[in-house]
């Protein structure tokens, strides 16, 4: 009987056969295109055809001041967006974790920005940001902060900030929900013991909750960094990277080059830069995950 069971549980060929369709699909639609992107980046591929051009795309790209500006801008944009998501997400999670009436309703109500298609949510933001008729400009004008209509997406600095806020809006719910789940996983007896020792609410938060959820905070910072870096639709719908390039991040620039101008080669060179950066992020993330898992299994 043992023999029979062994044959049931150790059929490597069957295991692989079951995974094969999904694996093949991913290889065809994700892995192969990734390699193809690298190849294209060494060509001047366009709708007309392609020739091998060596490192020309890279040389042009790296020597252009504009491109360097785009990389810097991407990281500044990302830094503010991710920090705000984490801070607001943490505060939100603390508030929704409080044992008060209505919290289960609030927990559902935080989620819509996460679930709704970004492209539709952004139409709402386009309306809010409208310089003449939007509510934000309206409140500004009525309180005297603005002395007239103000198109938030029409000026370099305000467009930069406005796209960050919209991105934070999309990303915060998920961060909040994950922090909340982590907080509820903290063993209750830790709090009870601290309470008996006379620890204040503040102490309990900083000495128990925060250290306990640190692994999740780190994981979420990396994950939101990756998603924020990849963020395309938000900026594309609100500003298309404008005004005058003020919100053009790496992803937007890649898209514009490749599918706006049909310069596949140049776009591919940018996509390769994106891929390298993403691989670095992913490497960090996976190393960290492996470490956290190890720590957990050791305890």
């Amino acid at each position: 009987m043992k023999q029979k069971l062994k044959s049931y549980n150790a059929q490597t060929y069957l295991a692989y056969a079951l995974i094969a369709p999904a694996a093949l699909y991913i290889v065809l639609i994700v892995a192969w295109p990734l390699l193809e992107t690298i190849r294209l980046s060494f060509t001047n591929s366009s709708l007309a055809g392609e020739d091998y051009v060596g490192f020309e795309n890279y040389q042009k790209m790296l020597s252009s001041k504009k491109f360097n500006g785009i990389v810097t801008r991407t990281f500044v944009w990302m830094f503010f967006s991710v920090s705000l998501k984490l801070i607001i997400g943490l505060i939100g999670a603390v508030l929704l974790n409080a044992n008060l009436k209505g919290r289960s309703i609030f927990r559902v109500l935080v989620m819509p920005p996460w679930v709704v298609p970004i492209a539709i949510g952004m139409l709402g933001w386009l309306w809010l940001y409208n310089g003449y008729f939007g509510i934000i400009a309206g409140v500004g004008m009525r309180t005297g902060i603005l002395d007239g209509p103000f198109g938030f997406l029409a000026y370099k600095q305000s467009a930069f900030i406005s796209t960050i806020i919209a991105d934070v809006w999309v990303g915060t719910p998920m961060v909040t929900v994950f922090f909340l789940a982590a907080m509820q996983g903290v063993p209750r007896d830790l709090y009870e013991a601290a309470y008996c020792d006379g620890a204040s609410r503040w102490d309990r938060f900083f000495k128990i909750t925060l250290p306990q959820i640190t692994p999740v905070i780190i994981t979420m910072s990396l994950l939101s960094a990756i998603w924020t870096f990849n963020s395309f639709e938000i900026i594309w719908i609100l500003t298309e990277g404008g005004p005058r390039g003020a919100t053009t991040t790496l992803i937007i620039d890649t898209y514009k080059q490749a599918l706006g101008n049909y310069k596949f080669g140049r776009g591919a060179a940018r996509a390769v830069v994106v891929m390298i950066l993403l691989t670095l992020f992913a490497g960090f993330y996976l190393a960290l995950l492996a470490r956290i898992n190890k720590k957990i299994s050791h305890e």
């Binding site: 295991a15 999904a22 991913i26 008060l100 309206g138 789940a181 995950l289």
Partner: protein, 279 residues
């Protein structure tokens, strides 16, 4: 220890109020705008009060954009197809990961996670060329094929954790009693994993519904295949934007997804957070 005094309660509730305003303001404004006549919306500075609110825009929008119904249908058709195809690929793979030990198991699972990080935008260039070569541009397939690929990784992780909850003893006992693999699958695994399949299916549906826009604007230019997120741009006219109708159509477009999510949010959130928040 969880008692709050009145001052603390006021503090927490006002914090929640501010937080919720940020999260919900766009939706509230969308809904309010959809109820107001266009000439009330086009007043500057913003008017907080309108006296003749109505659902007029919800009727008129079908005339302004005659294909609106088709766009909504397309969105559902695309998202359903993507979800079903994703499940077909994911079920055997997730079962295999949950049940068998084999070389490269863990490393391939991590590779799946890493794939999740490459967004569609990076892969669009070769995908565009592939779809063009196979003559799939401007068709439903142009949006379905890449859509499935980006949902497979997370879906495998999600479903794997559901399969792992089915005790292996059940299967082993049936196997020893002479049941075949197919019988085990049909009579033990399928019924026990139905809730998991539903959650993963819904996850894939919502994900597919959300990611349509990027694929639609890049790979499809035919109106008859357009999903609602890109169809909504038809409310932007040459001279002015019909904001009230656009907002009404947006809300009609997202309502079904939102409703499904609200009913199943508990399960979806549990499944998604379980991986990251393990104790």
């Amino acid at each position: 220890m969880n008692k709050y005094n009145t001052f603390e309660k006021i503090l927490i509730y006002s914090g929640i109020l501010v937080f919720m305003t940020f999260i919900l303001l766009p939706f509230v404004e969308m809904f309010y705008a959809s109820l107001r006549p266009l000439d009330h919306l086009f007043r500057s500075p913003y008017q907080f009060y309108s006296d003749d609110l109505s659902f007029w825009a919800y009727r008129e929008m079908w005339n302004t954009v005659p294909m609106l119904g088709r766009y909504i249908f397309n969105s559902f058709f695309l998202a359903t197809s993507v979800a079903v195809i994703t499940l077909i690929f994911v079920i055997p793979a997730a079962y295999s990961y949950a049940r068998f030990k084999f070389p490269f198991k863990n490393s391939s699972l991590y590779i799946l996670l890493a794939i999740n990080m490459f967004s569609g935008a990076v892969l669009l260039i070769p995908l565009y060329k592939v779809l063009r070569t196979f003559g799939l541009l401007n068709s439903y397939q142009a949006m379905i094929v890449p859509g499935v690929a980006f949902l497979i990784p997370t879906s495998i992780w999600l479903l794997k954790s559901y399969f792992e909850k089915i005790p292996i003893d059940l299967e082993e006992a049936a196997f020893v009693d002479g049941a075949s693999r197919v019988q085990i699958l049909r009579h033990i695994i399928a019924p026990l994993s139905t809730p998991g399949l539903v959650v993963v299916g819904i996850y894939a549906f919502i994900g597919a519904y959300a990611q349509q826009f990027l694929f639609a604007i890049t790979f499809n230019q035919k109106k008859e295949y357009m999903p609602i997120p890109s169809g909504l741009y038809e409310f932007i006219g040459y001279q002015s934007v019909k904001w009230n109708e656009m907002m009404a159509a947006s809300l009609v477009g997202i309502a079904p997804v939102l409703l499904v999510f609200i009913f199943l949010q508990k399960y979806i959130v549990e499944g998604l957070t379980a991986g990251a928040v393990k104790n």
